[in-house]
């Protein structure tokens, strides 16, 4: 049975109301197209987990998809505040659960490796640990010192955008690899969105580059430009002006509503979205090549 789905079918089949979703990617490869499709399909009561919620979760919260966010840095990266998530939290409309980056990523690491928890050295900061009872202490059984632990995070669905994969979902990523691998292994279901679907001989020409094996993948969706306004290393640049504009847009509910109406509900899919962005934007985000040196695996 083929794993290749149109993105809308993959979201329809694998993302349920109330699910814990991890849309992976630290600044890089953020699967915006998948989030927009979730908004279009009007999913509700989601728990949205990401180290950095980024604009994607701001938009999903604005659209009413979420009942809770789990995060470690809630900002508009490089710009400032993440206005909508912040306002909803301040207004008491949105549950939240908060970690440091390492706490968040350690939760995923535990989930991905089948461990019930992950230890971390103490930081002595204390206050966040007091506020979040998921932080616990145990005692190192060798020297008797305290160690901090966080429990495994196991998303219902991980959504991971990649540069290239084959039809089975064997996926290669380069550039910032953030927590993509951990999110995929930790999750129950894995949706891969990809810039390109390539022949498996290309994947097999460089197995050390493959971060996610196809047999843990449930759906493969061909979605070029999925990551805009985030970026895909080697394919297109980050649209920094969009991040700046969002700081303005997100100041009023009305302008956010307009944005969603035009750019999410108002387009059928990512292809239409990308075309709508127009040639100037396409041109602005183009990247000139800088190629890796080949390596020799040898024929054995």
């Amino acid at each position: 049975m083929s794993k290749i789905y149109p993105l809308s079918d993959a979201i329809a089949q694998f993302v349920k109301d109330g699910d814990l979703i991890y849309a992976a990617g630290f600044t890089h490869l953020i699967p915006f197209a998948a989030g927009h499709e979730i908004i279009r399909q009007k999913r509700k009561d989601l728990i949205l987990a990401r180290a950095t919620p980024d604009l994607l979760y701001d938009q999903m919260v604005a659209a009413g998809c979420a009942r809770k966010v789990i995060f470690s840095y809630m900002g508009n990266p490089g710009v400032g505040s993440l206005r909508i998530v912040r306002a909803e939290i301040e207004a008491g409309n949105l549950e939240w659960e908060e970690y440091s980056h390492f706490g968040m990523i350690s939760r995923l690491q535990a989930g991905a490796t089948g461990l019930p928890f992950m230890p971390m050295n103490p930081t002595a900061a204390g206050d966040l640990e007091k506020m979040n009872s998921n932080y616990r202490q145990i005692i190192d059984p060798y020297v008797g010192k305290p160690v901090v632990v966080v429990p495994a995070l196991k998303p219902d669905v991980a959504i991971v955008h990649v540069q290239r994969c084959d039809q089975e979902g064997n996926s290669q990523i380069w550039g910032i690899i953030g927590e993509q691998k951990e999110a995929a292994f930790a999750a129950d279901k894995v949706i891969i969105t990809t810039e390109e679907i390539v022949d498996d001989s290309i994947i097999r020409s460089d197995p050390n580059r493959t971060i996610i094996p196809g047999f843990i993948v449930d759906a493969v969706c061909l979605v070029p430009y999925c990551a805009h306004p985030s970026y895909t290393q080697g394919y297109y640049d980050r649209d920094n002006s969009f991040y700046l504009e969002w700081d303005e847009t997100s100041k009023s509910k009305e302008s956010v509503r307009k944005y969603l109406a035009e750019w999410v509900y108002g387009v059928k899919d990512r292809h239409e979205y990308w075309e709508k962005l127009g040639e100037d934007t396409h041109e602005r985000l183009k990247v000139t090549p800088r190629l890796s040196q080949v390596i020799n695996y040898g024929s054995y």
Binding site: T27, S72, R86, R290
Partner: protein, 256 residues
């Protein structure tokens, strides 16, 4: 008499704290500029690490986010986020961490989480990110901050990351890997911890006064016996910043 903005002053003084060969956990904005300035002046072998997992970045343009693609192209290594925090930071491979926050208190503790109560915040800030671990595990930390009374309270509303807690002895008892904040660079001068871990004024920038420093600090600021005067930003430092590193003055324009 050279003119410079407040962010330029902060950046240049932060850069001067770095040593050649330092491995620095860098944030975007002023810390990134400070590191790149140091690399072009007295610390050519500085290694820049970004929490996104980029090691030994050589950004060809000014990075506008912590995960800017220019950090990757031409870097020495890229690893996952778990790895950069575990193999690099927690393992003790990071010499210097840069920190900032909405509040820095008398003992160098930082608040980047909330103003007011945690459960019903008056202002919800972005949160820790990597700063909880950087403050604990980088061998030394430097804090960059504009010098304003609301930013320097006696005690932070929420302790996102550890300075010296309530006393240097308390931090020592916690047996953290890092030695804690070594300096706070402000636009008035430099604060450094004394034997108790309390931040005291150890240097003033040109034309700044002790009175200004005291008036803009939320506790009774003590002054070091041997109060120093920082060297004014040099033409060369300003030229590198303005012409090479941030020609559009995205981070360097004044007015903060």
């Amino acid at each position: 008499m050279v003119n410079y903005t407040s962010p330029e002053l902060l950046t240049i003084n932060a850069a001067r704290l770095l040593r050649d060969g330092d491995v620095v956990f860098v944030g975007v904005g002023l810390p990134n500029l400070a590191c790149n300035l140091a690399r072009r002046t007295h610390a050519p072998n500085l290694v820049m690490i970004y929490e996104a997992g980029v090691i030994g970045a050589q950004p060809a343009r000014l990075p506008l986010s912590i995960g800017d693609p220019t950090l990757v192209s031409g870097a020495i290594s890229v690893c996952g986020m778990y790895d950069v925090f575990a193999f690099y930071l927690q393992r003790g491979n990071v010499d210097v961490g840069f920190l900032g926050g909405a509040q820095i208190d008398r003992f160098g503790n930082i608040n980047a989480t909330v103003i007011g109560e945690y459960d019903h915040p008056k202002v919800r800030l972005p949160g820790s990110g990597g700063s909880m671990e950087i403050a604990a595990w980088a061998n030394r930390c430097y804090i960059i901050s504009p010098h304003q009374k609301r930013r320097f309270p006696e005690k932070v509303d929420f302790r996102t990351s550890a300075g010296f807690l309530n006393h240097r002895k308390e931090r020592e008892a916690a047996q953290l890997r890092g030695t804690g904040p070594q300096a706070v660079v402000t636009d008035i001068g430099v604060l450094q911890p004394d034997e108790s871990g309390e931040l005291i004024l150890t240097a003033l920038h040109p034309e700044k006064t002790v009175e200004e420093a005291k008036a803009n600090t939320g506790w009774e600021l003590r002054i070091a016996n041997n109060l120093a005067l920082t060297e004014a930003p040099t033409e060369r430092e300003l030229k590198i910043l303005r012409e090479e590193l941030d020609p559009q003055r995205i981070y360097l324009k004044g007015g903060d």
